[in-house]
Symmetry: C2
Subunit: 291 residues, 2 copies
């Protein structure tokens, strides 16, 4: 009989990290030392080094969040697609995203005067500052205000405050669950300025089909404009990720700023204008899911 | 000490298949029964059932080739992108591709009069016919001619014979190695008709950077038009795959047939016109690699 097979997390006997989804497949990485492993008030926070091109890895409750080697695939996409749709993004709110990668990319836009990071779990921020410096490097930037609090409460009484809101959350189970509700999305919408844009990570089109379907139904009840874009994430299940692009007035591909866009492109490993334009073209099966 | 960890292939103690690349990361799938496992004259051919949404899996020398659950990601992309660039593809050559998925997609194009499958390993064809019927289902189509022989030899004396040639090979090591040479590509070019197009699978942009660089240098020595397109493949390392699009005269996105394209789209889980148009937009790091 098969016993004690680790399906999510580090198998210390084999020195292999696995994240096998409920669908029965996922990723595997050769591991070395565990650098940090503690239970916070919300989740298990772990950072380990790998015997791989991916470098160090952050997991929460044993689920892959980010790696030094491929984090730009996620962070460039969650940030630059919405930011480049906005004519003059000055104030940005990041919900979740305690590793700092999203803040780092936001601050590449020289229009930004202030980015607020609202992360419920201070342990994630502290561990990433210590062990993932290439990702967390801009968290001490004076333009970045860090709030260690529950975004669900924070957003309740904010009106007309942000140009762009980025929901860089965990999955819709565990601490991130309340970030996938109609009420939360309504409050986010209210806190956006005119011409504002919200982008939320919206799971794997291949591995999380039912979660996606439900999430887009919710978003469509709140926002008049709801669209989907996708890109490759090597270390997420299925290697493919979707983000929801939501706004009251801004349509996908309605604006791109030549000067800022070219500046941003020079700093990126993925992002460029053609790649930007191509992101909203979806496979048939995903078009059907997001409605 | 860690002993006997299976990094490529089925770990029978854990019931987990892993394919961990030289980069130290890759995929993992929960497995059930091994349905077929034999050594052919060329490679180890294995088909196993999985305890996953992926269904049955074909591996060659323990490397992932295709799964019932995600094969359309690969087969739709290797076939419909080039086929839809050709005004009237009548004769098609598939090199490798013994599982039959590429032939199945080619035969969706009602212009096709004949598709030749040139696969070196008859055991792959026979095993897939028996165990992967949803993939191999068109191998008995009267328009399909199967040649169990070495494509390197086959292609040497063919002139002006094919409208589209699809190189659906294994990686550039093992039996597929000779399919990644200047001489082979030159012979392929010679066997194309006027207006012909060759597409070759060209590995993972994220996991096989050096292989990609070398391959595109070779292709550029042979073909005046060499371009790259990419798409998501959930079960290949990095979740992302590239194909080389090569021709003497046909440029990317220079033609799309409305009638045939719409017919094809209705049969596909991925392919549609917007997705087609978006495929040639590459991330910065890949643009740099392919030159």
């Amino acid at each position: 009989m098969v016993k004690n097979v680790v399906l999510q997390g580090v198998d210390k006997e084999q020195n292999i990290y696995k994240e096998i989804t409920p669908g029965g497949y996922g990723i595997a990485i050769k591991t070395k030392d565990i650098l940090f492993s503690e239970q916070s008030d919300f989740q298990k926070v772990e950072i380990f080094d790998t015997d791989s091109d991916l470098g160090r890895v952050l997991t929460l409750d044993d689920l892959m969040m980010t790696t030094e080697g491929d984090e730009y695939h996620y962070h460039e996409m969650i940030v630059h697609i919405p930011m480049m749709h906005h004519k003059n993004p000055k104030t940005v709110l990041v919900i979740g995203g305690g590793d700092g990668g999203t803040v780092r990319e936001v601050l590449k836009h020289d229009t930004v005067e202030k980015v607020v990071l609202c992360e419920i779990d201070g342990m994630v921020i502290d561990a990433c500052k210590k062990y993932l410096p290439t990702i967390s490097c801009e968290l001490d930037n004076p333009k970045c205000e860090i709030l260690v609090e529950d975004a669900i409460e924070y957003i309740k009484d904010k009106n007309d405050m942000f140009d762009v809101i980025l929901i860089d959350s965990t999955d819709p189970m565990g601490p991130g669950e309340g970030l996938f509700t109609d009420e939360f999305y309504s409050n986010v919408k209210q806190s956006l300025k005119n011409g504002g844009i919200m982008v939320a990570q919206s799971e794997s089109p291949f591995a999380n089909k039912m979660e996606i379907k439900k999430m887009y139904e919710q978003l469509r009840r709140v926002f008049p404009i709801v669209s989907t874009y996708t890109s490759n994430i090597p270390t997420y299940p299925g290697g493919y990720w979707a983000w929801a692009f939501c706004s009251e007035s801004v349509k996908p591909l309605s604006y791109w700023d030549e000067r800022r866009g070219n500046d941003i492109t020079r700093t990126c490993k993925i992002y460029n204008r053609e790649y930007h334009n191509a992101r909203f073209a979806l496979p048939n099966y995903l078009k059907e899911l997001v409605g």
